[in-house]
Homo-oligomer: 76 residues x 7
């Protein structure tokens, strides 16, 4: 994914549209799935989302909107 | 619900009006019910709302306004 | 209360003026009473307010101004 | 105090100038005394202020400026 | 200190310039000393500052800049 | 890295582009890797990122976007 | 350091450029070193920075950018 040049942090999200991402939330919760949309507040829509708590897959959702201010990091 | 194209995160909420949603709040509280309204702060009105604490249904409300900054994620 | 059409979240508060509401604050405190006024920050004045802590009625106040950023949800 | 009409939350503070108020802060601290001044951030000056911790009067101050974002509610 | 009329909260700080103040921070820390300067964010410079933790004087500093958003209250 | 003159804090990040940095997050998590991009909110993209929890290397990621408001400090 | 007149809080930081400062962060962490740069958000660059945790020197860094909103106080 590092073949597209990144000059601003949100370029990384642009490059990751329709690809798998892993979102680290506060309090040891992660959301994994396909990145569908994001905005300047880092609000993010994930398709086929898996909620992972303390490293264990807990629930699957067709579509989840994650509020940006809960996000610690996003990785591709 | 993924048949409507989503290009911005709030499109997902627009598509979910009058449908069942599940809202994850901080501190392991969830609100489930029919999405009636939302605004840019992610303040949300839920009709026939069920409050779920630690996975157990606790109380039902005819109508609940959830303040946006308590929301972790919303799923459809 | 669902007979008035709600298109924005604050419409619910407008419809609830002079009616009983229940406000959930952070840390398991609730305020119950008659909604008298609110503003865009969700600051709210409650008349004949009862403070409920861990489900038990603790104190009554003639009039209480609740600061909006402590509110988790408001129900009617 | 409910004889003055309140249409906006800060009207309640206007009506309470030079009267006794009780301010609930986060973490079970209360400040009681005479309301002398407030601003739009809900910063408040209390004269003859008593600091009450876990329900017990702890200290008295001639004049205290309470920062608005620590306030949970104010009652008259 | 109550002989100067206060109509806005920051008037109290203006009246307290070059006088002793006590600042209550979050998590039971207090800063005591002479008020030298403040701004609209309630950032405050204290000269001959004493840091008091759980009621015990811990350290003295020639000059300390306290960041406004840590302040619970300031008393004179 | 101190051979480039720094007059504003973000100059340090500008000088560190394509170099190794260590980011201290809240709750004893660190991210180490090559700085690729940053913005005014201190959102930061790290390439070949290592997540270090309580001093132990936990996971490696090709590319991670760290949200600025979780950052305590960044060192070079 | 009190020989330069201070009328606004950031004057203290201006006077402290290239001098030793001690920064108190939240959760009992301190950063000590030479102040190189700061901005209006109180983001601060420290040269030859020592990280002090619970009063014990833990790590030294050539250059550290401290994010302003973690700062409780800064002393000279």
């Amino acid at each position: 994914m590092s073949d597209s040049k990144i000059t601003r942090p949100f370029d990384m999200l642009n490059n990751a549209i329709n690809k798998q991402v892993l979102i680290q939330l506060k309090e040891n919760v992660q959301i994994r799935g396909k990145l569908k949309a994001f905005d300047v507040h880092m609000n993010i829509v994930i398709e086929d989302a898996e909620e992972i708590i303390d490293g264990k897959m807990k629930t699957k959702y067709v579509e989840t909107l994650v509020r940006g201010d809960n996000i610690v990091w996003i990785t591709v």
